[in-house]
Structure formats: structure tokens, C-alpha cells
């Protein structure tokens, strides 16, 4: 039976207090729905209102908001996502992290739009959420176990077709970029796994049988049919992405010099002949995997059939990790990338940050800042054995791995010796797989992303590199501010709706709006402008959240390497990012002042005027 009060929503929010093993269920407030939609929006509003400013992210004061959106779990393509918002232990600021797969739909089937997790359990705990109630169960028997093994044991205990959130040993010991795994997917970035670990929460088990109601069935079916057709004919979502997964862009990025090599020292990858999407497809991909309601199936099951890593497998490796454990470390051994990615998931580490830190450590070794004696073994770029060793050391906190697992910002702070110039992070979040010297828009995207360096708050590569008909000059600053701002607002909508960002490669904003309208029937969401206003509201509120935690314009920047150190070869030879020009324009378009503070008029326009700047 579905909730008939609000179509598209489960209609309830569950608040759990791990300290007292209590929980409360309340109706999802309508003004929260209308103004913040779901997912990231719910997280922004709830955390801004309820989280104590300045609290330690790893203390029991921190809160996790795990939220779905109206489109989650529906026939709308790629609706398997779910959002987690919290204060990040890696950056100390706003964090929203998104997980694909099947958890989001299951949570709605269990009857909840969101779970708010507070407090700290006295001993390792498994939170079990089912149709008929919530229970706090002993998690000591799986504490210390890998994520995949833990999920198998939980499945045996709680039945088939449960969905999970689960941390591994890295999250348990609060490694600052520990992730949370769900099936073969995860909440990757920013250390949400460490927050879960700090709460002694080993896993959340979700199982439900409730349905989702539809306001205008015929209209909704029409727009969904149209959406599936559009995705099929798009050359991206109907062509490259289903075949190669997220690696469909791999060669394009290498060609453009936008794929950073050896910790962003160069944009030229000499090993590309043996390490690219075609090799992956022919030699390693064994089958396609889709998330809930997704015809794109960008995920792959890969296995190594011969050589040193024979028998190793992963769900992936996706583009980001092909970079982080590959080119970033000067490594072209795909077997080691597959094994490395599996290890990251098994131990519960964000593979992007993991690879970024390893690349940084390799550069420190080659520059003599870290010695073989300090590390325990030689770690030149391209040493795949070292990559595997480092992953385990970071997960367990062994040797130099303990420092590495605190993130590249903290690591460079402790090492000193000018390492901050090539510690590749923004606001403490490690930079992912695009070099802004090959696409300036990504420089602005990283500098202004609300959770620190991130490629999923704005992704300008489509316009700057991939678009064949109407390509922007990747080395120009013109129009980049507008592009980044518009994407940030729209992506905030997608991440609150909550569906997969890849819909952006086949559908328009109008599709999303029409789908929301026919599903929910909410009168206030009449036009695309209404919907985008919600996105802008959310993006401004996460900005206010991070400013309250001490962020200002001086933090909206990039590492020195990108601003002052031109690459010496390849398509980006001699280029540095002109961030200042883009940033000034960005503030202007956002109606933020020179200090990066949202102007009062903007806050009034967005209905956020009761919030302090």
C-alpha cells in the first residue's frame, strides 16, 4: 500500500538516537518537501537547523541524514540513488554523498523518505529498519569484518533482498576518507564511513514492502516512456556509456590533456595504448550491471584472467578509479587497478581520495621528502605493488598509512617542505580525475563545489571537451561562471529528486520537471524555473552551512600547482588556470559578495533570510 498523502513520497521521516536506542517517526513536513524536495535538500535544511556549529564531525554530536527524493524508487530511469548528508571529518565542512544501487528504493519501500541518525551507540550496533519497526541489534560479531563479508552475513541473518549500508575496517577506525558500502556500490567521498564508525554503527539493514503512489498515472507513464526513448537515442547514455561504462570518456580526456598524470605533474600518459576503455572492454569487462530502474547499465563486472592479479574482480573499475589507482600513480597495470578498487571497497575506503594520496606520497618519495626508510619500501610512480600495500596500510592505519589516511591536506601539513603546493585538494577534499589546466571550467567547479574538490557539483567537460557541435574553448574563462553556477543548481535538484546525475546526458531539465509534476502533483512546482530555484536555495544553504564552519572566499581556490605551475608537455603545455577571472564573475552571478557571502537580497529571494551569513 502506498502513501496517499503526498504522491511520490513515503511520507515519514525516521529519527534514530543511537545513544539511547530510541527512535521517533514523524510525518514528512510539507514545507520541507515544497522548498527542499528531498535528498540533499532535506540534508541541508535538517543539518543547518539541527547540527551544533563547530562540532567535531567524529563526535556523537554529528548527525547523518540519509534521504531519498520523490523520484527515488520510481519508474523514472536511474532512480536507484540515495543521499547522505553530514559534517565531513575529512574537510570539516558540508558533505553530501550519493550512493547508487538499490538502497534508496528499499528505504522508501520500508516507508521512509529519510533517516536521521544521531548519537553514538555504546557498542558495535546494526540498525535494522523494516516495514514493521526499527531495532538496534548487536553488531559485535561482524565488527572488524570486510564490507562484502559483513553484508553476506547480514543477508543470511535478515533474509534475501535486504539492502545495506555497511562500513569496513577503515570506517571502524575512523580513517578520514572511509566510505560506506551498499551492495557493490557506496557513499564514496568525504568520510561518511568514519562518521558511521564514530557512532559505533557497523551497518544499517533496510527491507520494506510498501509502494509509491502516482498523482497523474497517464502523464507519468508518458514522460517516463519519453525519458527511456531519449536515453536510448542519446549517443552518451544510449551508446558509449552502456558499452564502456564511465570509462567511455577515458581516451577523450587523455587526448585533451585533462586526465591528470602522476599527481598532476603532466597531462601526457605514455601507457595509454595498454590502458584504455577498449582494453577494459575486450579483456576485463565480463558483464553489464544496472542500478534500480536504469537502462544505461554503466556498471561492469570485471575480472582478471591472467598474470599477477589473476582471479581478482570488482564491480567497476569506473573512470575515477581507473585514474586514481592508475594514471595518478603512473600505473597502467589494469589488473592492479581492479584489485585495488576491490580492496578499497572491501576495507571501506574512498578510492578517489585513496589514489590521490598515493600519488602524492609517490611524488614525496621521488622528491626525497619521504624516504624508503620512513615508508618501508620504494614507491616510485608506476609501482603497483606499492599501491596495493598502501591501500592496506591506510585501511589498517599501519606505518605511514596512518598519516596518509588523514587525507592529503593533513599529510602535507605534517610533512611541510613546500608539499602544500602539490597537495591536490580543495578545502581538504582530494581532487578527482580531471585536470583543470585542460578544461578551465573544472577549476571553477572544484573551487566552488560545496563539499570541496568534486566533479559532481558541476561537470563542465561535456561542454568544454566532448561536445562536437558547440564546443566551448576549454582554455577560455568566458561563460564558465554561468555554466558552473547553472549546473550546480540543476545538479542540486537531481541530487534532491534523488536520481542519477547521468540522466543529465540524455534528458533535459524540462523532462525532470514534468516527471516531478506528474508524479507528485505539487502545485508549487509549475515550471523548470520553480525547480531550479529549489536547487539554488539548496546550494546557497550548503554555502551558509560551510561558512558557519569557517569557510570564506580564501578557501575558494585551487592548489598552487594548477594556478602557477604550467605543464611542460602535451596539449596543455604552458597552461595554468585563470581562476580569479572566473571566480569574480561567479560571485557576481550568484549574488555573493567579494568575501563569497550570499547577498541579503539573494537570501530573501530564496526564502533563506532567517539564516545568518
Amino acid at each position: 500500500m502506498s502513501n496517499k498523502k503526498y504522491f511520490g513520497y513515503a511520507g515519514k521521516i525516521l529519527t534514530v538516537d543511537l545513544s539511547s536506542s530510541d527512535y521517533v517517526v514523524k510525518d514528512t513536513p510539507f514545507d520541507l518537501i515544497v522548498n527542499f524536495m528531498g535528498g540533499k535538500g532535506f540534508g541541508a535544511k535538517i543539518l543547518y537547523d539541527e547540527l551544533k556549529p563547530g562540532c567535531d564531525p567524529l563526535s556523537e554530536e554529528n548527525i547523518m541524514v540519509v534521504a531519498t527524493g520523490p523520484l527515488t524508487g520510481t519508474l523514472m530511469p536511474a532512480s536507484g540513488h540515495i543521499t547522505l548528508s553530514t559534517k565531513s571529518p575529512l574537510t570539516g565542512i558540508w558533505l553530501d554523498s550519493h550512493c547508487a544501487g538499490f538502497l534508496g528504493p528499499e528505504l522508501k519501500m520500508a516507508g521512509y523518505d529519510a533517516i536521521i541518525i544521531k548519537g553514538k551507540a555504546k557498542k558495535p550496533t546494526v540498525l535494522v529498519i523494516k516495514d514493521d519497526g526499527v531495532s538496534f541489534e548487536d553488531g559485535r560479531d561482524i565488527w572488524g569484518k570486510f564490507t562484502f563479508e559483513s553484508q553476506e552475513l547480514l543477508r543470511k541473518k535478515y533474509g534475501e533482498n535486504c539492502q545495506f549500508m555497511c562500513i569496513g575496517p577503515a570506517g571502524e577506525r575512523k580513517a578520514r576518507f572511509a566510505n560506506i558500502v551498499s551492495g557493490g556500490r557506496g557513499f564514496g567521498r568525504g568520510g561518511s564511513g568514519a562518521v558511521m564508525g564514530s557512532k559505533n554503527l557497523k551497518a544499517v539493514v533496510v527491507k520494506g514492502t510498501r509502494g509509491i503512489g502516482i498523482y497523474d498515472l497517464d502523464g507519468f507513464m508518458r514522460i517516463c516512456t519519453e525519458a527511456y526513448n531519449e536515453l536510448t537515442v542519446s549517443p552518451d547514455t544510449g551508446g558509449g556509456r552502456p558499452k564502456y561504462g564511465t570509462n567511455s570518456i577515458y581516451s577523450f580526456m587523455i587526448e585533451a590533456g585533462a586526465h591528470p598524470i602522476k599527481n598532476f605533474q603532466t597531462g601526457v600518459f605514455k601507457a595509454v595504448k595498454e590502458c584504455n576503455e577498449d582494453v577494459l572492454d575486450k579483456k576485463y569487462y565480463k558483464r553489464h550491471i544496472a542500478c534500480f530502474s536504469c537502462p544505461i547499465n554503466c556498471s561492469k563486472a570485471s575480472r582478471v584472467d591472467d598474470g599477477k592479479y589473476k582471479g581478482k574482480f570488482t564491480e567497476g573499475p569506473e573512470y575515477e578509479n581507473m585514474w586514481s589507482l592508475g594514471a595518478q600513480c603512473g600505473n597502467s597495470n589494469i589488473g592492479s587497478i581492479i584489485y585495488g578498487e576491490h580492496l578499497c571497497d572491501e576495507y571501506g575506503l574512498d578510492a578517489i581520495s585513496t589514489g590521490n594520496v598515493i600519488g602524492f606520497t609517490m611524488e614525496c618519495f621521488e622528491k626525497g621528502i619521504l624516504s624508503e626508510k620512513q615508508i618501508g619500501f620504494p614507491t616510485n610512480f608506476g609501482n603497483d605493488d606499492a599501491i596495493i600495500k598502501f591501500i592496506k596500510m591506510m585501511a589498517k592505519g599501519e606505518g605511514v598509512g596512518e598519516l596518509m589516511s588523514q587525507g592529503v591536506r593533513q599529510m602535507s601539513k605534517e610533512l611541510g617542505k613546500g608539499t602544500e603546493k602539490f597537495a591536490m585538494h580543495v578545502k581538504g577534499m582530494e581532487i578527482p580525475a580531471y585536470d583543470p589546466r585542460g578544461a578551465f571550467g573544472m577549476g571553477l567547479a572544484y573551487a566552488t563545489s560545496d563539499r570541496g574538490a568534486c566533479h559532481l557539483r558541476a561537470w563542465t567537460l561535456g561542454d568544454e571537451i566532448l561536445d562536437v557541435r558547440d564546443r566551448m574553448d576549454p582554455f577560455a574563462t568566458e561563460f564558465k561562471a554561468e555554466l558552473v553556477k547553472n549546473q550546480q543548481d540543476f545538479f542540486a535538484v537531481i541530487q534532491s529528486a534523488v536520481v542519477c546525475l547521468f540522466l543529465n546526458f540524455g534528458l533535459t531539465q524540462r523532462h525532470i520537471t514534468r516527471c516531478l509534476q506528474s508524479l507528485t502533483g505539487i502545485k508549487e512546482w509549475k515550471t523548470t524555473e520553480d525547480i531550479l530555484k529549489i536547487g539554488e536555495r539548496i546550494y546557497n544553504l550548503t554555502r551558509l552551512f560551510s561558512m558557519r564552519e569557517g569557510i570564506s572566499a580564501k578557501d575558494d581556490t585551487l592548489p598552487q600547482r594548477l594556478l602557477r605551475e604550467p605543464t611542460k608537455e602535451g596539449p596543455t603545455k604552458g597552461v595554468v588556470v585563470d581562476l580569479d577571472t572566473m571566480l569574480k564573475e561567479y560571485y557576481l552571478i550568484r549574488h555573493w559578495d567579494r568575501e563569497g557571502r550570499p547577498a541579503k537580497e539573494k537570501l530573501i529571494e530564496l526564502g533563506l533570510d532567517k539564516y545568518k551569513v
Partner: protein, 128 residues
């Protein structure tokens, strides 16, 4: 009769969603008459009744709870004791068990329209 080519299945569950919309006007895979069983990451398998002419499930049911109505197998929930002998008897692993009732649910073919077949993005399901 729907036939599944499991190798092509990506596990997206669009078949389950469309089935629940068609029969219940809401989105709830747990009500679907077709089911995806996942063996991550190597296999997703479609469970659906093939409407056999001589159904082994009917033979196996000692409570006579499975009957043929308008050409389709159907469970009589009052007679069914959820012993699931029918599940074991089906040579095609085609019996879906409801997570809600614990009893089998049989595909009713959407009046031979088979919306799951129509909506499957990878032609995993086909009619014969």
C-alpha cells in the same frame, strides 16, 4: 509464454516496477509477478512463470491451490499453505514467492501484452 535470456539481464528491475504499476497502479517491486534474483556481481536471474502446458507446480501442490484461470496459472491464497513445494518442483526456477504473503504469485501475462517484455531495455524477456 515468456522466456528469459539470463545472460543479458543487468538487474535493473524495470520489469518488476512496470508489473506493479500495471496491476496495482503504484510502484512496488515487492508486488510484482516477476522477480530478479541477484548473485552479485556475476548474475541476475529473471524469475517468471512460463505458463507450462503440463505444469509441475500444479502436480506438486497437494492442496490443489494452483489453478488455471483464463489460461493463466493462479494461486488460491486460501488453500495455499506456503509450503513452497511448487517452487522446488518448477524445472525453470520460475515461481515467484511474495515477500509480503510468503506465497507464490504467478504471472497473468497482462492479457498476453506482457508489459515486462515490452519494457525490458535489453530484450532479456521475450514471448514465444
Amino acid at each position: 509464454m515468456p522466456i528469459a535470456d539470463h545472460k543479458k539481464c543487468t538487474g535493473c528491475r524495470i520489469c518488476e516496477i512496470i508489473c506493479s504499476i500495471q496491476h496495482h497502479k503504484e510502484m512496488n517491486p515487492k508486488l510484482a509477478m516477476v522477480r530478479i534474483n541477484s548473485n552479485w556481481p556475476w548474475e541476475d536471474k529473471v524469475i517468471i512463470c512460463r505458463q507450462c502446458k503440463k505444469p509441475k507446480c500444479v502436480e506438486a501442490c497437494e492442496y490443489e491451490a494452483i489453478e488455471r484461470v483464463d489460461g493463466c496459472l493462479r494461486i488460491d491464497e486460501d488453500k495455499c499453505t506456503a509450503c513452497l513445494e511448487c517452487v522446488k518442483a518448477c524445472p525453470f526456477e520460475g515461481v515467484v514467492v511474495s515477500e509480503i504473503t510468503g506465497k507464490p504469485i504467478f504471472c497473468d501475462t497482462c492479457n498476453e501484452e506482457y508489459l515486462c517484455v515490452k519494457w525490458c531495455p535489453h530484450q532479456v524477456l521475450s514471448k514465444t
